[in-house]
């Protein structure tokens, strides 16, 4: 009997046992293989050459309206893992005000494999190092003080079973990369320019993604040129002006001030003690003018190649393409089954009709929570970056975050960026250093005055989104065009 057959038999037998013991719902995730590799080349030195392999079972039991979860790395420990999950659920059910319910769904089966040509975990270390050395050489200049290259590869094979009879299997492949060049400016402040590996929306996620120069390595010359300009640039002065976000910055703006506030567990108050709450409430849907008419935001977005594309979520729900914000009006959010059931129960009406397929867990030993998939601003009709610059009287263009700090309900924010280009009367006039901007979320998005067309739209990757307790890191994507906001406070008050 194969390990898979043994696990399947033990898991399905135990799921039946939990149901027989009064569980409302039970599911189990077996991470057959969770392999990752991280390489860090710092000033040409391979200082990070790290791999990890994890494998194990996570079990979730809903009993008496409460969740219990347990995990084990021992495949011989399946029965007791189920028992611990049930005991935790029974214990939790003694302190429950709103009893959770998954609703009912018919079981289904399915499988998903991330599109890829070459599994990056299988590529030899020497080939990886040779490639990184070539990229590093292209970054090397006498005046550059530090060069940092970081690549990360993931391969996960995940089996899922539920008490509804659902079985899904996923093989997920992820490839991430960052390059950063640093140098001291005229005031001895360290400045940097960086480039993150982005997705071709219809491309693939394997080793071939990393070696496509258009997506990452081919940007070395540009970031060196821009870094040199930053070193001699004046500092951005405090003031109110238009701010144009390139996708390298815009994706994080979307992540922090649209993605996180629209996670339903956060809206319902389940993240208050850690990540925070949301200024959005259940009455906001269909009413809140989140942004100007130019703001259209989707979840998932049917993007073929993204770390936020995974076929089925951690409850077996197929990914679903839907709008979160329609012409500026908030219409939906990022949801899982238990959360929509509770939200509708609390609102006394059907706010949400079906799960958004956004239940995700970072590892076998973490319980699923509501996460972003791909959260995207849809392309607009305001043309190219050049077209948007032409319509800007007084503004800055900014790219790539150096810092991000968001209010606890995502109602206000502050971002620092690597570079700014000043725009005066429709033309770029000069480069500025140490740019930052701040704002209040709803006011900011209602000042959205231009959205670039499809030619400006880029799918950026995020591999380190943190949330939940115990803490979970998650991978996801954001498709974002060039976006312009008016009347934004930027620069630091003296």
């Amino acid at each position: 009997m194969s390990i898979f057959s043994e696990l399947k038999e033990a898991v399905t037998r135990n799921i039946d046992r939990m149901t027989g013991s009064g569980a409302q719902y039970t599911d189990a995730r077996w991470y057959q293989d969770d392999s990752s590799e991280m390489l860090v080349l710092l000033d040409g030195n391979l200082e990070g050459n790290d791999t990890s392999v994890e494998s194990g079972l996570g079990v979730r039991v809903l009993y008496g309206g409460a969740w219990g979860f347990a995990a084990t790395s021992r495949t011989t420990d399946v029965d007791s893992c189920f028992d611990r999950a049930m005991a935790n659920a029974v214990s939790a059910s003694k302190l429950v005000k709103v009893r959770l319910d998954m609703g009912s769904k018919l079981g289904h089966t399915g499988s998903y494999t991330s599109p890829h040509q070459v599994d990056p975990i299988d590529v030899s270390l020497s080939e990886k190092v040779d490639f990184l050395r070539r990229v590093d050489e292209s970054l090397t200049e006498d005046w550059i003080l530090r060069r940092m290259l970081r690549v990360q590869f993931q391969r996960m094979i995940i089996h899922f079973w539920s008490s509804e009879g659902t079985y899904t299997m996923k093989k997920l492949i992820n490839t991430f990369a960052h390059m950063t060049a640093l140098a001291l400016d005229t005031d001895h402040q360290m400045q940097r320019r960086s480039k993150t590996l982005v997705c071709e929306t219809d491309g693939t996620r394997g080793w071939e993604m990393l070696t496509n120069p258009a997506l990452w390595s081919g940007h070395a010359e540009r970031i060196k040129k821009e870094l040199k300009e930053v070193l001699a640039a004046p500092e951005l002065e405090y003031g109110t002006r238009s701010v144009i976000l390139l996708p390298g910055q815009g994706h994080l703006q979307v992540h922090e001030t649209i993605g996180h506030p629209l996670e339903l567990d956060r809206i319902l108050g389940y993240e208050l003690s850690y990540a925070g709450g949301s200024f959005v409430n259940l009455d906001s849907f269909g009413k809140l003018k989140y942004g100007s008419d130019k703001l259209n935001v989707s979840a998932y977005g049917s993007i073929v190649n993204s770390p936020g594309t995974f076929g089925f979520d951690a409850e077996g729900t197929p990914e679903r393409d839907y709008l979160l914000i329609d012409k500026g009006v908030l219409v939906n959010c990022l949801t899982s089954r238990a959360m929509i059931s509770e939200a509708n129960q609390r609102a006394g009406r059907e706010v949400f009709t079906e799960s958004g397929g956004a239940s995700r867990s970072t590892a076998f030993y973490r319980a699923p929570i509501d996460r972003m998939t791909n959260v995207n601003i849809l392309p607009g009709t305001d043309g190219t970056l050049e077209d948007i610059i032409k319509t800007t009287e007084d503004g800055i263009i900014v790219d790539n975050p150096t810092s991000w700090s968001i209010g606890s309900n995502r109602e206000h924010f502050h971002f620092g960026c690597e570079i700014a280009w000043e725009v005066k009367n429709g033309e770029i006039t000069r480069v500025l250093r140490n740019p930052s901007y701040q704002g209040h979320t709803v006011e900011f998005y209602n000042n959205l005055s231009a959205v670039g067309d499809k030619s400006t739209w880029v799918v950026e990757q995020v591999e380190n989104c943190g949330k939940g307790e115990p803490n979970q890191v998650m991978e996801l994507g954001h498709g974002v065009p060039v976006i312009k906001f008016d009347n934004v406070i930027s620069g630091e008050r003296k």
Partner: protein
């Protein structure tokens, strides 16, 4: 608790590696974790994980490789097979311009002075009862959330450099409860920490909430206009700010790379107010113990900031090798020395017209590390104080300032210290804490934005 068979297995694999001429370190990490999460006055998650990890590092001349295996290992041979794979990885790696250094464990260590059997096996029902008691005592009309993480961490480390080992077992817990008004939307918070089962007490949180509730219930929120203010920072805020300030100032790698705000400073320079002293002190009972530095030395108390002067840089073994310095026996246990102020900050500000009290800073980040500029916003129980009286809660307010301003403009520091738990639960269980004064009064703090809500 790990058994003799496991120790023998790890030592056996080390010996096999040494016989093959492989320079390796083997670290066993076992955690028994439990976390109860509270949301909307309910247990929203009750989770337990028992996980074993083996970390292996192999150094091959100027090359190295590391690997982590999460799962059980049955035999010395199975572990040695993994070491061989890491050895091959190191051999296929790229040479560096410095020689990575293998940890050399200075002497055998068996340490479990901060281990409590009762906490290791704490019944989740105890947590449920503590939260229930808080809800009932303070009022069940409020919305409560929180989390309570507890568990044990056991490590056993050996390297091929010698036959020494270090075995360390400790328990830790981190408790938080947030009270939110369902309509007015303000939030109060209470934190507790410790390593013994009895360290977390419902009455402590109840008293904290009851002390501040009348201010929040009876006053509307105050919107703070941007400007410079006298601010009392509470222990959570001091702990996080001090940690960020000191690590970006005193970490050897950061300083050598000219990344931090002390890049142009040298040891002995006055960089902060003379009332500020920070030690790396593994002897404090307010932090979680760390017996060995990463280079294998027995940890010692090291000055980092002494009466405001830049007093020490910390070097891990590889940074030391790269920059030609000696590694330091640091524990990573930051302790900020107390001042002479009263235990209650309200007494300290009786003669001051207007002060903001900010107990915690949410989502802090560093836009400019060269200048030590940080930003973050007030959260939880923040209030406006006039002449020593709490006047009103304040809306979510942003501080954007510099570390050397905050710790350079200190007016007074509490004589009482407390432990602030700085552990997170990303990846493996890894307890950490800092010891800080319960409050610090600072002049000219820059408030740069304020929301219209809490």
């Amino acid at each position: 608790m790990m058994n003799d068979k496991l120790r023998t297995m790890i030592a056996g694999a080390r010996d096999l590696a040494r016989d093959r001429g492989i320079k390796a370190s083997i670290n066993y990490h076992h955690e028994n974790s439990h976390l109860m999460r509270i949301g909307n006055n309910s247990v929203s998650l009750n989770t337990s994980e028992e996980l074993t990890r083996i970390d292996i590092e192999v150094i091959d001349g100027r090359k190295k490789g590391t690997h982590t295996h999460l799962g059980e290992l049955a035999s010395t041979e199975e572990l040695f097979d993994i070491i061989l794979k890491v050895s091959e990885k190191a051999a296929n790696s790229a040479e560096m311009d410095f020689e990575p250094v293998l940890t050399v464990i200075e002497s055998n260590v068996e340490l479990q002075t901060q281990y409590d059997e009762a906490l290791d096996h704490l019944d989740p029902a105890v947590k449920e009862r503590v939260y229930s008691s808080i809800f009932k005592s303070v009022g069940e009309d409020y919305n409560y959330s929180g989390s309570w993480s507890s568990g044990s961490t056991e490590t056993f480390s050996v390297t091929t450099a010698n036959n020494n080992y270090v075995w360390h077992r400790l328990t830790d817990q981190q408790f938080m409860c947030v009270l939110k008004h369902p309509e007015k939307m303000w939030e109060l918070a209470s934190w507790q920490t410790g390593w013994k089962a009895g360290d977390i007490k419902a009455e402590t949180t109840v008293e904290e909430f009851k002390a501040i509730l009348p201010t929040y219930e009876n006053h509307a929120g105050f919107k703070v206009e941007p400007g410079n203010y006298k601010v009392v920072l509470g222990s959570q805020a001091v702990g996080e700010l001090m940690s960020m300030a000191v690590w970006s100032a005193c970490a050897g790698r950061t300083w050598e790379m000219k990344m931090g705000w002390t890049a142009d400073k040298k040891i002995g320079d006055q960089i902060l107010h003379q009332s500020v002293t920070v030690l790396d002190d593994p002897t404090s009972d307010q932090i979680f113990s760390e017996p060995l530095s990463d280079s294998g030395m027995l940890t010692k108390t090291l000055p980092m900031i002494e009466s405001g002067k830049f007093a020490g840089l910390l070097y891990d073994r590889n940074t030391a090798s790269k920059y030609g310095k000696k590694p330091t026996p640091n524990a990573g246990c930051l302790v900020m020395q107390p001042g002479s102020g009263p235990a209650d900050f309200l007494e300290a500000v009786e003669g001051i017209d207007r002060v903001l009290y900010i107990p915690a800073i949410h989502y802090m980040n560093i836009p400019n590390m060269s200048k030590g500029i940080f930003t973050g916003s007030s959260r939880f129980s923040a209030v406006l104080v006039e002449k020593g009286k709490i006047v009103s809660p304040i809306f979510s307010s942003r501080i954007t300032d510099q570390f050397d301003n905050i710790f350079g403009n200190v007016l007074e520091i509490s004589s009482k210290t407390t432990s602030v738990n700085t552990s997170n639960t990303y990846g493996r269980r890894n307890p950490s804490a800092v010891s800080v004064p319960t409050w610090m009064l600072v002049d000219d703090v820059k408030i740069t934005d304020c929301a219209d809500s809490f």
